[in-house]
């Protein structure tokens, strides 16, 4: 089977700084691949390239063999790449349910006139969308039950907001889900729960590419691990091996400290 996502020699420079340099990677169907690297190593830039915020200077991005480089973010989302954000980006004054419904934008069809006159098929689509959104929210048992769905997203706890962002991304029925630090700011118990849920998603066939700093989560959830530093891939492979790779340790801690350990 073709890889879900394939990056070929992807390069992006900002002025003199090459944030992502000749980066290649593949993500196979049903795989969880994690990217680690020190701050400023180009991980988020990579996500921004894949999700269409930036256009690559050179190289190509293939989604199931089809090039998506240069498309707008909304087009890329419609093709099947959904993402979450390192710093939360929810629609704070919209309800929990509405947040998920917005995530379904590209999977629903209602246009202005249909909505204005509330045509029968629009009502039907809306009903189906709400049912589907509730189904997605139910993936996080007990977190978004009943009345909480009609509360504004801003009223949620921090961890639940992170969960809601994942739910919104899932609503786009992505072929690949990009998670940018899904457990950032969570306590260890919450992180563990989210990690298990990420694995559960994978077991349901969801392909995932994730940036994460929490090594427990990275080692616990990833099938494969990629380490970046200064925009370059410095290691790739089995999560344990990569985490112990001297180049990776050096990237995080500097040479002397690494030698001291």
């Amino acid at each position: 089977m073709a890889p879900v996502l394939e990056l070929v020699g992807l390069t992006k420079a900002f002025g003199g700084l090459t944030a992502v340099n000749d980066m290649s990677l593949t993500v196979e169907p049903g795989e969880i691949v994690s990217i680690i690297g020190p701050n400023g190593s180009g991980k988020t830039t990579l996500f921004n390239l894949v999700s269409g915020i930036y256009e690559p200077d050179s190289g190509d991005i293939l989604l199931e063999g089809e090039s998506i480089a240069g498309l707008r973010p909304d087009q890329i989302q419609a093709k099947g790449i959904s993402r979450t954000f390192q710093m939360l980006r929810l629609f704070s004054n919209m309800t929990v349910l509405e947040n998920v419904l917005v995530g379904m934008h590209s999977r629903t069809k209602t246009r202005l006139l249909g909505a204005m006159f509330r045509l029968p098929w629009v009502t039907r689509e809306e009903k189906e969308a709400v049912a589907r959104a509730q189904e997605i929210l139910a993936f996080f048992p007990g977190r978004f039950s009943g009345p909480r769905q009609s509360q504004p997203a801003a009223s949620l706890s921090y961890a639940n907001r992170r969960r809601l962002e994942i739910a919104r991304a899932l609503a786009g029925e992505p072929r690949i889900l990009l998670l940018d630090e899904p457990v950032a700011g969570m306590n260890p118990a919450e992180s563990l729960e989210v990690m298990q849920q990420i694995r559960e998603l994978r077991d349901r066939g969801q392909t995932i590419l994730m940036i994460e700093h929490d090594m427990k989560v990275v080692l616990g959830a990833s099938d494969r691990l990629i380490a970046m530093d200064h925009g370059v891939k410095i290691a790739e492979g089995d999560p344990q091996d990569v985490a112990n790779d001297p180049r990776v340790v050096e990237a995080y801690l500097g040479q002397r400290d690494a030698a001291a350990s």
Partner: protein
């Protein structure tokens, strides 16, 4: 700051909140329909029907502006331009000035279409701009449109305006008297409220709201930002075009002074007063702000004298007497004060879209400091590494 906000509501507000929404809507509609009967019964001066017509015209404008400003989060300071385009379309094609006498429905549609085209025209190049820049461009657009109408004298007759606009004939119903116009405009207000409420609670409206809340997250949720914003701009312009058409018919005379920049500002104030993004808010905001000067003037020059005798203000200084009896002169002052008070004490507006409360009043206490766990924070081996 305002302590009334947040989730703590008084007992009255709680009780009012329990009444189902349809009760309020039905009551409002019944009152609106019965309103002109007060005049027929001799209890009310015709003046108040004229005030109501003017207020309802502003209701249409506030509803339209609310689409771009309240729901999509785009500040449009030239909104009156679309109103002017609708009004001039109707005036030019249904008056002796150019010799046309189009009938009501085609003109209504054409007024909306021209306003929408103008919305598209100004939207296409500018909606990539954000915030203040968009406000400035739309402000300029509003002035350009008015200046064009003022200066293309061969068509628009310039500052002298277009007189003698024909009365509308709607399937044989000739609308001439103010109560008739009142019902005509009320009908369109109801239609627009229903249509915009339906859109608001749909995929289209959610896309607008998402753009207002967080544009980056919205485009990554599959929303074509440019397209959605232009749609909002065009719809909002269309509502203004409709209002302009009805306004021209009712006034039967228009000139460029009806479409000054200040009108745009007033409509913005109405949307803010009612509550950004709230459809009932836009309605209430427009009615309150537009009718308040008349109510104040009438209170002091008519109602209070009837209660306390005609000379109850006699001991007041002359300037204070004239301040209240000529209150129309000071309406802009009133608008300014009202808006400042609203922004300070009730930033979510009189009838907020309930969701807006949370953002404007309360900080979520559960919000935690954003702390990032670094690579080796949890790893037990890190003690060795630090050593």
């Amino acid at each position: 700051m305002a302590k009334s906000g947040g989730k703590k509501r008084g007992p009255i507000a709680t009780a009012l909140g329990r009444v189902p929404r349809w009760v309020y809507l039905t009551a409002a509609l019944v009152l609106a329909v019965l309103f002109p009967l007060l005049h027929s019964a001799g209890l009310m001066d015709m003046l108040w029907i004229r005030v109501a017509i003017r207020s309802l015209t502003f209701v249409l404008l506030a509803l339209g502006l609310n689409v771009v400003m309240g729901e999509t989060g785009l500040l449009n300071l030239g909104y009156v331009a679309f109103f002017a385009i609708g009004a001039y379309t109707t005036a030019l094609l249904s008056s002796p000035s150019l010799g046309f006498h189009w009938s009501f429905w085609p003109l209504l549609v054409l007024s909306m279409v021209f306003a929408m085209l103008a919305g598209l025209l100004v939207g296409l190049p500018t909606l990539r701009l954000r915030g203040d820049y968009l406000a400035i461009v739309t402000l300029a657009f509003g002035e350009i449109v008015r200046t064009v109408f003022l200066n293309v004298t061969s068509i628009t007759n310039g500052a002298a305006g277009i007189p003698a606009i024909y009365t509308p004939n709607i399937f044989g119903w000739v609308v001439t008297e103010p109560p008739q116009f009142y019902y005509l405009i009320l009908f369109f207000v109801v239609v627009v409220v229903i249509a915009l409420t339906n859109v608001k609670n749909s995929r289209v409206g959610r896309a607008w709201n998402a753009l207002r809340e967080d544009e980056i997250a919205a485009i990554h949720s599959g929303i074509d930002a440019t397209r959605a914003k232009i749609l909002a701009m065009v719809i909002s312009a269309g509502v203004a075009g409709l209002a302009g058409c009805l306004f021209a018919y009712y006034q039967s005379f228009i000139n460029p002074t009806y479409f000054l920049f200040m009108q745009s500002v007033i409509v913005v104030c109405m949307v803010v007063l009612g509550g950004m993004g709230s459809i009932p808010g836009a309605v209430i905001g427009a009615i309150v702000l537009d009718s308040l000067p008349d109510v104040i003037r009438a209170t002091f020059s008519d109602w209070l004298p009837r209660v306390f005798g005609p000379t109850f203000m006699a001991s007041w200084p002359a300037w204070l007497q004239s301040f209240f009896t000529d209150f129309e002169k000071y309406r802009l002052l009133l608008f300014g004060i009202v808006v400042v008070l609203v922004v300070i004490f009730r930033p979510e507006g009189l009838l907020p879209d309930t969701l807006w409360r949370s953002e404007t009043h309360e900080e979520d206490p559960r919000e935690q400091e954003y702390t990032r766990q670094t690579l080796f924070d949890i790893d037990e081996g890190n003690q060795d590494l630090e050593a």
